[in-house]
Amino acid sequence: MRQRVVIAIALLARPRLIIADEPTTALDVTIQSQILKLMRQQIAEKGASMILITHDLAVVSEMADHITVLYCGKVVERGRTRELIETPAHPYTRGLIDSIPDTAHRHDRLRQIPGSIPDIRNLPTGCNFRDRCPRAQALCAEREPDLARQHATLWAACHFPLKPGETA
């Protein structure tokens, strides 16, 4: 209920841009879907733009036109939603998507990203993801990769990005 009030206020002023930080995280799925629907409707009607911040890939993939993936405070990948979800180039994005249990194709074990998120006060040299990355090579420790165009709308910061169709 409180969330709905917040959203109503945001929309009352006819804003051009709405920034929503984890707007439905504490909510139940049936209420969440009511609110997401309402937000989509309002944005379409009023022609507003929105930045949706969330850890929930399923929610962004249903809401967003474009997705930006952050790791340790840096953009590691961005692109159009379907392209990024279906053919991610960055091994971190790939790992995140593969970690989500798939209700259509059930496997006995989930793919997992090994290790844990590094301490941001003590980041590794080169690529922040290299300790956990299955594709890392010597170059990854030497030089931090820049965001570079991969294909169509997709940009990724990786020395050894995945090509469409590659799995890990």
Binding site: T30, Q34, S99, D108, R109, S116
Partner: protein, 344 residues
């Protein structure tokens, strides 16, 4: 008594009501004619029944506040149930006191959502993990073997011997959950009650813990009561699923049956509302209006009727009981008797 067919856990008509208020003024509440009013109670769990076989993973799902944690804590006897039976390998522990629970704790352990809050911050990891085991161990000879066993357990959950001397705050969320799992495993229980064990973890770490829990089940023949609000996690790990709403069990079924053919209107709404990274949905979303009623005053009849798109007058008059509909599925809904009402 511990024959093959005796379930690891059987819960019958479990009820947990919390009185609220309870101060002097609350106790003096009277109506207009001076008749004393009942104290308000939170109807957290209302006559829930289910069983878990040895080595089986049963998941409990439902929205926030539907009573999942209360079921878990009542089974673990953190709460005294208002009514009902809790049988561990056939033995009813519902009336047990703390001392009676000692042998039961060797059979049943609990792990929690927030592994930090549930670990004593001033204890070293080796002492945290050893605590339930030491409680069960009598005799100097046996106690001498505890440290070696702790080292083994830490290795099994993916922690090293050097971790044993550290304190909980020196670990990440995923590692803390590994400590909680090692602690629960220390007494080689037959049942682990896991309340949202991966909900606080990053998805990439979540997968590590789910894989570990599944491996441990296969290795030790553990049964789990696995509580989660995340349907994709439940689909991955559970053999059977129970769906709760407002403190009632509204449907139970084997996992594949539940996901393919949910029967209760609430289960159907819940499954269709879950967001997914898939491009298209093959199911038409059932959008529920309204909000979950307060557990302070339950609706008459069916707990779901205030939001159910199919509700009719019978639903307000009569509370549906959980009934077997075949294929291991049980549903608490009057539509079972009048299926033609769904096609309108």
């Amino acid at each position: 008594m511990t024959g093959r067919d005796v379930p690891m856990l059987e819960v019958r008509d479990l009820t947990m009501h919390f009185p609220v208020g309870g101060g002097l003024l609350d106790r003096l509440r009277v109506d207009a004619r001076g008749v004393r009013l009942e104290n308000p109670v939170v109807h957290a769990v209302n006559g829930v029944s289910f069983r878990i076989a040895r080595g089986e993973i049963m998941a409990l799902v439902g929205e926030s506040g539907c009573g999942k944690s209360t079921v878990a804590k009542t089974i673990a006897r953190i709460y005294d149930p208002t009514a009902g039976e809790v049988r561990i390998e056939g033995e009813d522990i519902a009336g047990y006191g703390f001392a009676d629970m000692l042998p039961v704790r060797a059979k049943m352990q609990m792990i929690f959502q927030d592994p930090y809050a549930s670990l004593n911050p001033r204890q070293r990891v080796r002492d945290i993990v050893a605590e339930p085991l030491l409680e069960q161990t009598r005799g100097a000879q046996e106690r001498k073997q505890v440290p070696a066993r702790i080292e083994q357990l830490l290795a099994r959950v993916g922690l090293s011997a050097e971790h044993a001397g550290r304190y909980p705050h020196q670990f990440s969320g995923g590692q803390r959950q590994r400590i909680g799992i090692a602690r629960a495993l220390s007494v080689t229980p037959g049942l682990i009650i896991a309340d949202e064990p991966v909900s606080a973890l990053d998805v990439s770490i979540q997968a590590q813990i789910l894989n570990l829990m599944k491996d441990l089940r296969d290795e030790f023949g553990l049964a789990y009561l696995f509580i989660s609000h995340d349907l994709s996690v439940v689909h991955h790990i559970a053999d059977r699923v129970g769906v709760m709403y407002l403190g009632f069990m509204v449907e139970t079924a084997p996992r594949d049956v539940l996901f393919a053919r949910p029967r209760h209107p609430y289960t159907r709404a819940l499954l269709s509302a879950a967001p997914s990274i898939k491009a298209k949905r093959d199911v038409e979303e059932i959008v529920l209006g309204g909000e979950v009623p307060s557990a302070l005053s339950l609706p008459s009849g069916c707990c779901f009727r205030t939001r159910c798109p199919f509700a009719w007058d019978r639903c307000a008059q009569e509370r549906p009981s959980l009934r077997d509909v075949g294929a291991g599925q049980a549903v608490a809904c009057h539509l079972i008797d009048e299926p033609e009402r769904e096609r309108t």
